[in-house]
Structures are given as C-alpha cells and as structure tokens.
Homo-oligomer: 169 residues x 6
Amino acid sequence: MGERANARIAVFPGSFDPLTNGHIDIIQRGAKLFDRIIVAVLTNASKTPLFTVDERLAIIRENFQQTPNVEADGFDGLVVDYARRKGATVLVRGLRGISDFEYELQMAMMNRHLDAAIETVFMMPAEQYTYVSSRLIKEVMTLGGSITGLVPPGVEKRLVDKKKGTSRP
Amino acid sequence: MGERANARIAVFPGSFDPLTNGHIDIIQRGAKLFDRIIVAVLTNASKTPLFTVDERLAIIRENFQQTPNVEADGFDGLVVDYARRKGATVLVRGLRGISDFEYELQMAMMNRHLDAAIETVFMMPAEQYTYVSSRLIKEVMTLGGSITGLVPPGVEKRLVDKKKGTSRP
Amino acid sequence: MGERANARIAVFPGSFDPLTNGHIDIIQRGAKLFDRIIVAVLTNASKTPLFTVDERLAIIRENFQQTPNVEADGFDGLVVDYARRKGATVLVRGLRGISDFEYELQMAMMNRHLDAAIETVFMMPAEQYTYVSSRLIKEVMTLGGSITGLVPPGVEKRLVDKKKGTSRP
Amino acid sequence: MGERANARIAVFPGSFDPLTNGHIDIIQRGAKLFDRIIVAVLTNASKTPLFTVDERLAIIRENFQQTPNVEADGFDGLVVDYARRKGATVLVRGLRGISDFEYELQMAMMNRHLDAAIETVFMMPAEQYTYVSSRLIKEVMTLGGSITGLVPPGVEKRLVDKKKGTSRP
Amino acid sequence: MGERANARIAVFPGSFDPLTNGHIDIIQRGAKLFDRIIVAVLTNASKTPLFTVDERLAIIRENFQQTPNVEADGFDGLVVDYARRKGATVLVRGLRGISDFEYELQMAMMNRHLDAAIETVFMMPAEQYTYVSSRLIKEVMTLGGSITGLVPPGVEKRLVDKKKGTSRP
Amino acid sequence: MGERANARIAVFPGSFDPLTNGHIDIIQRGAKLFDRIIVAVLTNASKTPLFTVDERLAIIRENFQQTPNVEADGFDGLVVDYARRKGATVLVRGLRGISDFEYELQMAMMNRHLDAAIETVFMMPAEQYTYVSSRLIKEVMTLGGSITGLVPPGVEKRLVDKKKGTSRP
C-alpha cells in the first residue's frame, strides 16, 4: 500500500530561525490540505543564525512527530527548483499583514515566472500570531523579554541552554 | 473505480455577474490543487443582476466542460454552511490587491470563527487580470467600452443578445 | 470631594448598531487612560437601524455598569461640536486594519481642521476582534450565523426577542 | 502664432461636485507640465448633485481665468473615448493615499486596456489637501461645519446662496 | 501641592537621532493628554549615531523647557520594562502612513503580549510632517540639502558645529 | 530648427543596477510625454554594484539608440539639485505597488520641500513588470534563475561575460 499517484506535495519554505508558533499554525493547516508538506529550511539565509540548520530541522521534526505528512528538509538555490526536484506543485506561504502581502505577491509572481507549473497558495495564521515573526522574536529575546507562548517549548529550552553555554566561564 | 476517500473539495464562492477571465484563471489554478472545485454562485447578492443565476451557472459550465473536476452550483446563506453541506474543507479566494486583501482577510477570519474546520486559501491570478473585476466590467460595458479579452466569449455573446433584446421595439 | 479640575474627557463616537465586543474592548482601554469616556451614539447614521438609539444606549449602559467613568449619550451633527459642548478634548478611535486606518486618518485630519483643540487618539483592540465590525455582525446574523463571542449577551438576547416579535402572528 | 504641433493635451476627469482646493492644486501643477489641461466634468456621475454641471463648469472657469491653458468641459461615456476626441494623450489623476492608489491603479490599467495610446500620470497634491475630498466636504457641510480653506470662495458663496434659496418661505 | 495620585504617565520611545519637528509635534500633543510624558531615547539603537545620547537628551530638553510635564531620559532593553519602572501605563507612537502603521501595530501587539497593563496609543502629526523621518533627514543632510523647517534650530546649529569640527585641519 | 523654448525636461533617477524591462517600459512612456527625459544614474548608491556606472550608462544608451529624446547621465547629491542644473522641471517615478507608493510619496514630498519648482509625476509600468525590481533580479540571478524577459538582452549578455570572467583561473 503506497502513496496514491498524483499526491499533492507542498513546500513551505523559510528560514525558521527560530520556528514560531505562527509557523506551526500554518504548517498544521497546510498538512490538512495537501498529501505531504515539506518544511524547507533555507540553508544560506543569514550570516549569523540563531540556530544551525541541523538544529532548526530537529526543532521542526520534534514538533511534527505526530503529523506523518509533515517533513523537514534543507535547501538552497531557487525554491521553485527545489520544489520541482521534490515533485511538489505548491508553495505555501503565510499572510499576516499588508507588508507580508506585498512582498509575498511579488515573490509569488517571480516564482510563477520562473516555473509556471508551481502554484503559490497563501494561508492565514490564527489571529493571535499576527504579530509573531522570527525577526521580532529574536529582538525580544535579545532584550530579555519572554517569548513563552510565541515559540514551541523546544525553542525556548534550546535558547536557555545556549545562554548557559555562552555565559560559562 | 470511484472518487478516493477523503477527496479534498474546494468551494470558490462569488456572484460571478459576470464570470471574468480573472475568475477562470483562479478556477483553473484551483482545479489543479484540489480533487473537486465547486464554483458557488451566490443567488441573492444583487437586486439587479446582469445575468440570472441560471445564466451564470450555464456560463461557468460551458467554460469548464473540459475540466471534469469543476462544478457550478447556486447557494445562499453562509458560505461555510454551504461548504459543510457539500463536504468541502477549503474556500478558494483570489487576491488582486490590497483592498481585496483587507476584505478577504476579514471574511476569512469571520468564516474561521463560524466553522474552524473550513480553511480559506488565497490564490493569485495572472498579472494581466489584476484590474479585472465584475463591477468594473459592468461599468465599462455600460459606458460602451470593449470587454474583449476580459471575459469569456460566452459572456460577450450573451451581452450582445441582451442588448438586441432590450432595444427591440 | 469632586472631579479634579482639568479632568480629561474623551468621546468615543460611533453608530454602535450593534455594540460589539471589539467596541467594548476599546472602551475599557479608553476608560483606563482618561478620566471620563463618553460613548457617543450617532443618532442619524442609518435609515434602517437594527436597534433604536435608546436600545443602543441601554446596551452600552448595561455593559458598563461597573465602570463609572463610562457614559453613553446620543448626538448628531459634527463630532467635534459635540465634544466641545461636553468639555471633551479627545476623540478615541479603534484601528483594526489598513482600510480603517486610511479612513480614520482622513477623518482625524478633517476633525483637526474643524477644531484644532480636539485631539484624536487611536487604540488597537485585542487581536481576536480584528475582524469584528457592526456591519459584518449584521451580515452574519442575517444569514443565520452565530455571533456568540462577538457581541455582548444583551445584544444577542435582544436579537432573539426581536426575531420572536417579528415572527409573531 | 499658434499652438505648436504635437501640443501635449491632458485631461483631468472627475465629478468636481464641488471643486476643492485639492483639485485646484493638482490642476495648477498639471498646467505647468502640459500644453493644455482640460478639466473634464463627468455629467452623469450622481443622481443628486450638489451643483449642476453648468455651475461646476462655471466654478472651474472662474478659478482658472488667469491660467489660459486650463479649460473646463463636460463629458460622459468612457474617459479614454473623450480624451481621444479631444486629441489628448494624458490623463492626470491626484493621489492622496493608499485607497486612492489602489482604485486609481485599477482604473489606469483598465483605461490602458481600452486605449493604450493614452497614458495616466499621477500627481501628488500639497500635503494640506491630503484629507480633502468632495465627498467629505459635502458631509461636513451637511453637518454644519466650516469648509473655509478647503474649497475656493466661489464654492462657499454659491452654497450660502443655495441655503438662502432653499430656506425661503 | 504635588502630583495627584494616579497621574497618567506616558512614554514616547525612539532614537531621536535627530529629534525632528514631527517628533516635537507629537510630544506637544501627548503633553496635553497625559500628566507626564517621558521622551525615552533608546541608547543602543545604532552603531554610528549622528548625535550622542547626551546630545539628544540635551536637544529634547532645550525644546521643552517651557513644557514642565515633558521629560527626557535614556533607556535600553524592552520599552515595556522601562515604562513599568517609570510607573507609566501608556506608550505614545506617531502614525504617518501605512508602513508606519503596519510596523507600529505589530510592535504594539508584541508589547501588549509582554505587558498587558501598558497601552499603546497612536497619534497623528500635523500633515506637514507626514514625510519627516530621522532617517530621511540624515539622508538629505548627507547630500547637502537644507533641513530648515524640518528640525528644531538646535539640531541645525549642532550640525553646523559638527561639520566645522570635522573639517578642521 | 532647434529645440523649442520651454522644452519640458524630465529626470528619471535611479540606480539601474541593472536596468530592467520595467525601467525601459517607464522610460518609453515618459519619452512620449516630455520633450527630453534624462535617465540619471545615481553614482554612489551601492558599495558593491553589479555593474559600474559606465556599464550602466552604456546599457541605457544602447537600449534607447532609436529614441533621441532619451539621454543617460550619472549624478550624485540631491536629485532636485541635479534636475535644476539640467533645466528639468519634472521627476518621473514608476509605481508598482503599495510599498513603492509609500516610499515614493515620502520622497516626492521631501523633494518638493527641497525645491517646489520641480514636480514629481508617477507612472505605471505594464502589469507584467509589476514584480520586476533590480533587487529581485539580482537575487534570482545569484540563485541561478533565468532572468530572460525581465531585463534587456545587453544586460543578460554582460552578465554571462562577467561570470566567465570571474570563473577564469
């Protein structure tokens, strides 16, 4: 018994540095709509990442152990090239507000230009995650604010461990 | 051999008065992503429609004769109630610009409040349809402008027939 | 012991047809910032209101019985004229999204032109009320959807009573 | 000595009911950029206009007596058809904010579709006119607010005369 | 006779590098609405500031000598932590346009998440300051443009002094 | 036979690193509206340009050999100072979307403040160039994507040559 032919495979690309509860919300929604969803970690996005790509993949996997059609993978290069290699026909993107929208629409048009066979669909996170972005999470953390409720427990735990590590004499 | 269990059914709701090439573009994209897509014509949207609901359904059907997983149907009431009755779990909406985006996001949040099991996904039409809306089509027609290339031939033909009909002595 | 001199009085103007939980959220926030907040019901906003002005005032009052610095009042004419008559120097407005923002900014500039001594301040409702507007509430109700959680219980109860009343033989 | 060949003629279309200081600002800017600018009053825009088309044309003309390359004219039908008949190759539009922008961009794309030889250019009014629209002017007037500084004196004078006229026994 | 109990204290946080006339406008408006307003200079915002934190504090103070309820202070860390330490319950933010709006709304939601007792209120500068930002002021200055009318005289004078200083042999 | 007196000269400023088909579209539209249009390359915009200023000027010139009223030139400093030196009274800017719009409006207001005699006009590229920006072109190229159809052939050819050059041992 195998995967049905023509399974619809979606890619959810991003840096996920760190994975937020907003990402988790979108991934769960995507997992209901498509046969498989690949959470694709861009490996060369930032010079000074908070987590290594391996840590980010581990965090994604531990959050979706119970959701067998969610996978985590690393990629670089064009996301449409990656999607094609994986047999995916859909890119999933979350939309929080207007500035997301403009940028995402521009990227979606460019990706359609690069490969018209791959379609971008936009999904809306739960409203409590409207303001949650990886960038803002990092800013708050840097300033000593609590991020409980905004990221999964595995992210918080690793951050505590990292701090202990760096403050060791 | 029948439809597989757990077929993913999407509803694309609207007035479709008239169906535009922008709608056709979104429906074709949706038809690739979901097992079935129901183009659901809101039956009580306007007091003075251009086309009757039956005409609108006929126009949709003749444009998707070759796409067996596209259906046309009429509905009234809440779209989430209609979707549930049809076994659909997805609402498809097109996004052209910011004003669409704000309204659509508000509607999607309300629909999620009304039935959390039904997910809204947003898709982007080809850029040449960015400015095409049923309302603007009607305005241009009323002022005597050409709508060739913005609506399917069946809409244009029916409009010519209607004009002949109304100008009869 | 009386009200201190120079008490800061705010006006929160609107139709409140009906009062939503989003309005309540903004009023409560305003009540903490200003000495008195007057919820000012525009008496001539709509030809076919859902509730009479008296019903709307009653609904506001019953929701703020425990908040002595919240008052309800009706007004017509320019909101800046009303504010001046009441000794208010602040207009409070809620901001949910971009389309709110544009309209509200335009109104605030016009109000500043009409009376520079009255300042508009914008506040943000809790994110779960982002999609709640009186207009959308009315639409959902008309289509038979549940508005529980979006309006206070007194609004829901009155609506049930109204329906019974109108369906009486 | 006559008009040079290939004079660039621009059309500034609108309802101008009433002409505002924001319109005057844009017309003056346009008059510097193009050889002639025709302020084109849409004759069938509203069922219940504040001023007749003739009054609106008179108001425009009296405000641009000193600017010989500004003309006023009435039109109906498609603005691109009107522009072509007048030998114009440019439509001038004012941009105040985002909601203007979205609507104007959609109209400009539709007009380009209808006649690719006619170009739309957008200009920005002085910032003190950002909030001035004919619709808001009418609202403020109806509510008894002062519109001094927002419209030219001729508009204010005519409005006072109209009020006297309507309140006559 | 001292400050009344429950004085409402507001914080207006920012980099103020340099203080602009747009900032001054918002601070003056805030000073009318709240008992005290603390202009809080973020001390670690930029690696290469135009003015030191001490210069920025001095500039703010000299502009509000006549407004006793305006104070200047430096802070780092989370603004809600700073506000709580100062007994403030309000954050004041200026809104100029859509891009401000999106960012400010996201920050306000995050700050509410971090401390629900501190409320953000948004105010609108006079329209002539819509385009004035510290970043743009710096750009214009760097390119040799005049910033007279956009910043207070003390900022201009210090900049002239700085230029003399740096060009000294 | 010479240029007529009072020729209207426009400046289209930018980095043009690289020139895109979106830029070409706007320049061609501007060339129809104004007597001369100067494509003005900002010489100090980026530390690590893709093309030198001379290469960018050469690319512009080879694309407009057949359009004699289009010129290319380099500039630094304030664009209004440059325009004044060239006798230009118009700045031309392209508008693709909301984020362009906000930034462009802010710049246009600042430029008007710096020199009220120079007017900014906004034009709209063909819709297929909505998503084309120099920044995104560079990103796609870096990731190995095809930019055919988004930039003129001369840009593509030079990029191929550059790659050969850099990969030489």
